[in-house]
């Protein structure tokens, strides 16, 4: 995350009027049409060299909702998540076919700056990864590298706002100059969330954000996500099916196809309202996974 964002430029992706779209319907039970979609994946395949890791994925991500990507190991859910802010670009052999729209601009189009994509589509990682700097600097960094030119007081306000959004301000306001490492695991992850929201992204990607946390810290992050969705569109990958149930509005269930040569390719099985997925899924494969009858 550090290396690609430090190369930030002032270029902005062309914004287009937001579109009213409906959920794609190929191969799975559609959710109710949503409010506008902030991001849309259309017919996407992801390759690592010749290996097709994920095939034919189409999902719309609705504004101010939490969408969970769930499924067994190797189903490609993290690959799909990383395709949403071009993190896969960092893997030399990775290649995306199909389209990933941010509003109505394909982020894989020629001329699109991946760094700008990552500013608009922020990311929180599995393990809390604060910088070896003060709490204040961890948050201010995000703004500075995005060309923040305001006065110190304005930066102070921005840091306070981001830490407040991350539900961390009250715990750290009297020790902003302490190292980010001085915080507990759960606090460090909330610091990383503050850092991620400081550049004002529209979308937050979360890749197993609680897997390194204890149950209480996990619940705090989940509560935080429920609050953050008022301001952001959140897409989370989680191995914890119960977590997907607790926090998400919509759930995409991925599984794996194995061909004659034993090659495994991830696929989207079903995408629908989380209420539906967890009480009455439309696909037997989803039902089997949700009820523990898989493998």
């Amino acid at each position: 995350m550090r290396s690609e964002t430090t190369d930030q430029t002032e270029r902005r992706m062309n914004e287009s009027p937001e579109q009213k779209v409906t959920i794609a319907t190929e191969g799975f039970i559609p959710a109710e049409p949503t409010a506008e979609a902030v991001m849309r994946i259309k017919g996407m395949d992801v390759y690592y060299g010749d290996f097709r890791a994920v095939k034919e994925v189409s999902i719309d991500f609705a504004r101010n909702e939490i969408t969970a990507l769930i499924g067994p190991s190797g189903c490609g859910k993290s690959t799909v998540l990383r395709s949403l802010n071009r993190m896969n670009d960092l893997i030399p052999t990775a290649r995306v076919e199909g389209s990933v729209f941010f509003h109505d601009r394909d982020i894989y189009e020629a001329g699109v700056d991946p760094v700008e994509v990552r500013r608009r589509v922020g990311m929180v990682f599995q393990k809390p990864n604060p910088f070896p700097k003060s709490i204040y600097e961890n948050v201010a960094w995000g703004a500075r590298i995005n060309g923040f030119k305001g006065k110190r007081g304005e930066l102070d306000d921005l840091v306070e706002h981001a830490l407040t959004q991350a539900a961390l301000w009250d715990e750290v306001k009297d020790k902003l100059s302490d190292s980010g490492y001085s915080l507990s695991g759960g606090q460090q992850q909330r610091l990383c969330i503050a850092r991620a929201v400081a550049p004002s992204p529209e979308v937050l990607l979360m890749d197993e954000p609680c897997s390194a946390l204890d149950p209480i810290a996990t619940l705090r992050i989940e509560e935080l996500m429920m609050t953050l969705k008022q301001d952001y569109t959140i897409i989370i990958v989680t191995h914890n099916m119960q977590q997907a149930g607790r926090v998400s509005d919509r759930t995409a269930f991925f599984s794996v196809d194995v061909d004659d040569r034993g090659q495994r390719t991830g696929k989207l099985v079903e995408f629908d309202a989380t209420d539906k997925i967890f009480t009455s899924p439309g696909q037997k494969e989803t039902e089997d996974y949700i009820t523990g009858r898989f493998g």
């Binding site: 209480i216 619940l219 705090r220 989940e222 509560e223 429920m226 119960q242 149930g245 607790r246 989380t274 209420d275 967890f278 009480t279």
Partner: protein
Amino acid sequence: MTDTRSHFHEELESVEQALLGVADQAERMVEMAVDAFTEGDLAAADEVIALDSIIDQTYLDVHNRWMNLMARQQPMASDLRRMSMLLHMNTTLERMGDQTVNIAKMSHATAGLPRVDKIAEELREMGDLVRAMVRTGIEALVRRDADEARLLPAMDEPVDRLNRDMYQEVVRAGSDPERLEWAIKAMMVSRALERVGDQVVDIGEQLAFLLTGEMAEFDEAGLERGTDVQSS
């Protein structure tokens, strides 16, 4: 104390409030239904039937919300017991609404028939007793008061007695076929009110389960077997 599951707990509270609203409405429907039958007020009977459709809608809504909570939130301990109570309440309150509809339908079935004053008076007394039980159940629930819930079996006793004695009143109604027909229908009204009383006791038992962690039926003195003092 920080509530790390505030969204879940807010939804639980919201479901309970919806059911308390239904209980409140059920109490009014008991009053209206008894008035409809004893006074031949068919407009009131129709209103009871219309109100029941609102209860039915809430029943379906609560059922869906309950399913989603259970599937998604993994309730534990007192949250789990509260879920149990809410599911039971939802079914019970829907049936209470149905009982008032049964009474309302009896009002139509007896339109124009001569009434037996003594029976009408006893039905009104039963209605008042049952409404007091519903009110007590609601207050016990709101206050989370197991002792108040344990009053319900004793409050139900005179309702049961009046219902048992209704047979004798019907026999005493005489041989006039129209009076007799009204009186026989009145027995069915009495039975419906007795059922509502039992249903309120059931809700009280669920409340005691929520508060004590012990699931048991109340005996006539309002005591469950094996209660303890576990708080929630």
